[in-house]
Symmetry: C2
Subunit: 473 residues, 2 copies
């Protein structure tokens, strides 16, 4: 894509950023933006702006955008809304391309005069040809150029773009996602969307060569072109959307958060289906589904071959995968015959999923489970692999080294197969440090190797179901 | 209840236990049972049984149950199935009341001769008047008498009983539940249920004065009396059931786990509804719902007043609670008027949920949030309280002390209200130790105070929905 052709280029690739409302007080957002960009290593120039002048964090402070000696691509405003009209004039004098309003207390308050002020701001910006992001938004995260709106931001660049009307949800998905190896090309918190909206962002990302998958959190759609654009975008890339305001209370909250009209959820689902976009119904599902698309090769069929743990867990796996449109057929004779060569009569204990909690106490080791899993991975009956480490209950009878062995064999088989493999690891929220550490180390090992990890079999099944349906219809 | 009237009394209150297959090898289950009972402080006598005699863990080993000088109430068998018929004769000679078969590889294998052996075992036991638990089960956990089948078992006694056909699921709910303060009166892993089954256990627990709430995990019902008994039990106590085998693959796995016939799930749900039992569809939901029932006073209405975090989070809360049959009405004038007295014009930012991520940056502190929450808690419009700590993203702008303050004020308001309050804390699976510790400490603080904690707003809404529907119909 020729990025010079899009007016949004200044949003994602600014040569310079001014922070209006910059402050020496570390509790102020005008300080945080500055420090976050410096810490994260923003590659362009940074101009703090504050009428009091002086210096903040070693940078010269300008009293106004209009006196900055060079043109500024991207301005972030943290000042009260009533000063924004003046700011727009200053920006116009400088030649600013995009103005992002962290500034809030506008349309989302529901108060008529604040709504009018928001409209006034939008119309002023239009008149002088400055694009607006927000108001009431955090802005852009793009690791490649050192853009961020958070102190704890992953440096790793991914190929997932996240368009989020909520900054809190953007941050939650970035933070929790990074623990699971979900990395981003771009994240945009776009708030009230009086100018740049979900539709323009989707359209831009469809053409963005750094973005392979688009995920979105939407409270209310702003553009009447949304269905048409979404349809075109979803033809090029998977688009996974979590839409809220499904109920009266939710819709009321959406109105007071970003001034959004949530609309009918039934109509929404119809549009999503027509456009072949992927609907999810929670942030957790948004992350899980994004991980499936980001980490796994396209599936060639619906049959899941699995290593599980516990008889109860096996039943759960069967139920959950079938409920989400996949199949978990019994082990074929071809697999059992091969297993028989080293397991002898104990081949009889091999089901789908293979229950490691039965095989291990029978006197077999992780080496045999690995051999069995490789045989399953190689068998043409199965096109998808599931490896569930089970409920890890650190215990005198189960050492951290067991957990390491189990996860280790999953990763070894993963290396020699081209089939998509979901690994299920329960969350590391143990009460003792050694347990937490033992678990977290294995989780991070999976993340380093690029594996797709899920917190439960149910989460894996739900995400894989959508992933497989997308690819196989 | 007069416990002497029930044949199951020996299962829960044995004066003595014999472990057949006791071993000096710590990897053997026959060693683990022994050590677990000793470590957990079982109050009765323990007799290891092994033909080789000698001593294990300081206890004299008997070559056979028949030569133990006193009658044994409860025998645990870890020996291979083919030796069980002889064991039953030995038990009969001793006067044993209950025989629990950890012993497996019977009906659940699907192999005709193993099924026949299982039937033979059941019939022998019937002939000599010995009750059987299992086969293919872990047995009983009862902290009051020091009974357990796990190394890591909570000592704390609760009033929830768990009837679980799967030992793995029993252990998972016990372990994960204990991290959230869910404690048990009794947990029974009952496996293939050739004799003692779900129905007899439910009936027993209905009359058990130590048990206020019954939860169950069932693969297939064994007794034709189940609906009738369940109906009677559910009239006395809340009964929450997770039934698997909802699909073909799940039903196949259920057959090979405990030899269960899963039956039609639609018929199952009909029975559950008729009996006024509570249906849940995952282990997580089973835990969440049990926590609501175990920790919260009965609700007096469906209106939720909430402290939340983030605009996106507020919409989620509105959606999730309404989808589960509760309501989240806007703040009434009575609340706003009181808030106005100390928040001035900023009363306008007070919605339901109150968004702490808006109130705090506006210059207000945790003290004001606490005052607001108290006003909400006191207002008659709201009968249920939700306190969501939000997504905790440890960050230069958010210290552990902030999190402490937030959770602290939730707990303070909780102390002065009689309304049920759900506290939402995200899982502590952070990658750095200080984050994990900071979070886990607050979680444990909530557990110590007896609060009902949930890992997400969606989980809280789902569990509270069932809790409120149970009480208000």
């Amino acid at each position: 894509m020729d990025k010079t052709t899009s007016p949004l280029d200044s949003l994602f690739n600014p040569r310079s950023i001014a922070i209006v409302g910059a402050s020496a007080n570390p509790d102020k957002q005008g300080h945080r933006y500055l420090k976050q960009l410096l810490d994260f290593g923003f590659k362009g120039k940074i101009y703090p702006v504050n009428p009091q002048g002086k210096e903040i964090l070693g940078l010269e402070v300008y009293p106004s955008v209009s006196v900055i000696p060079e043109p500024v691509d991207y301005v972030i405003s943290t000042i009260p809304a009533e000063h924004v009209p003046q700011l727009i004039q200053d920006c116009a004098r400088n030649g600013v391309k995009v103005l992002q309003l962290y500034t809030a207390q506008l349309g989302e308050t529901g108060i008529p005069e604040r709504k009018q002020l928001e409209e006034h701001i939008a119309s002023l910006a239009r008149q002088v040809g400055i694009r607006l992001l927000g108001p009431n938004c955090m802005g852009v995260y793009r690791p490649e150029t050192g853009l961020t709106f958070r102190f704890v931001s992953a440096k790793a660049k991914g190929d997932v773009a996240f368009v989020s009307q909520s900054a809190g949800h953007a941050a939650e998905v970035m933070y929790r996602g990074s623990l699971r190896g979900l990395n981003f090309s771009k994240v945009i918190s776009y708030g009230n969307a009086v100018d740049i909206n979900e539709t323009e962002l989707l359209d831009y990302l469809a053409q963005d060569t750094d973005t392979r998958i688009i995920i979105a959190y939407i409270e209310g759609v702003r553009s009447p072109d949304f269905p048409k654009v979404l349809k075109a975008v979803a033809r090029r890339k998977p688009v996974i959307i979590f839409k809220v305001g499904r109920t009266e209370a939710g819709a009321r909250a959406a109105a007071s958060h970003t001034g959004s009209l949530a609309g009918s959820y039934a109509i929404w689902k119809g549009i999503m289906k027509q456009c072949r976009a992927i609907t999810v119904e929670s942030l957790e599902e948004l992350m899980d589904t994004a991980i499936a698309f980001a980490k796994l090769p396209p599936p060639k069929g619906r049959n899941v071959g699995a290593i599980g743990s516990g008889g109860g867990g096996s039943i759960l796996a069967g139920d959950e995968f079938e409920l989400h449109g996949l199949r978990m057929p019994p082990m074929p004779q071809g697999v059992l015959d091969k297993v028989k060569t080293f397991l002898g009569d104990d081949w009889m204990m091999i089901k789908n999923p293979v229950d490691s909690s039965v095989v291990l106490p029978a006197g077999w080791g992780y080496e045999e489970i690995k051999r069995i899993f490789r045989i399953i991975a190689e068998h043409p009956l199965y096109q998808i692999l599931l490896a569930d480490a089970g409920e890890w209950r650190p215990d005198a009878s189960f050492e951290v080294s067991d957990y390491q062995s189990l996860v280790g064999l999953f990763l070894e088989v993963r290396k020699v197969t081209e089939k998509p493999m979901a690994i299920v690891l329960r969350p590391a929220d143990h009460a003792e440090e050694w347990k937490w550490r033992g678990f977290m180390e294995q989780q991070q090992r999976c993340v380093r190797e690029g594996a797709a990890i899920f917190p439960s079999v149910a989460c894996a099944a739900r995400a894989l179901g959508k992933f497989v349906n997308y690819h196989l219809g």
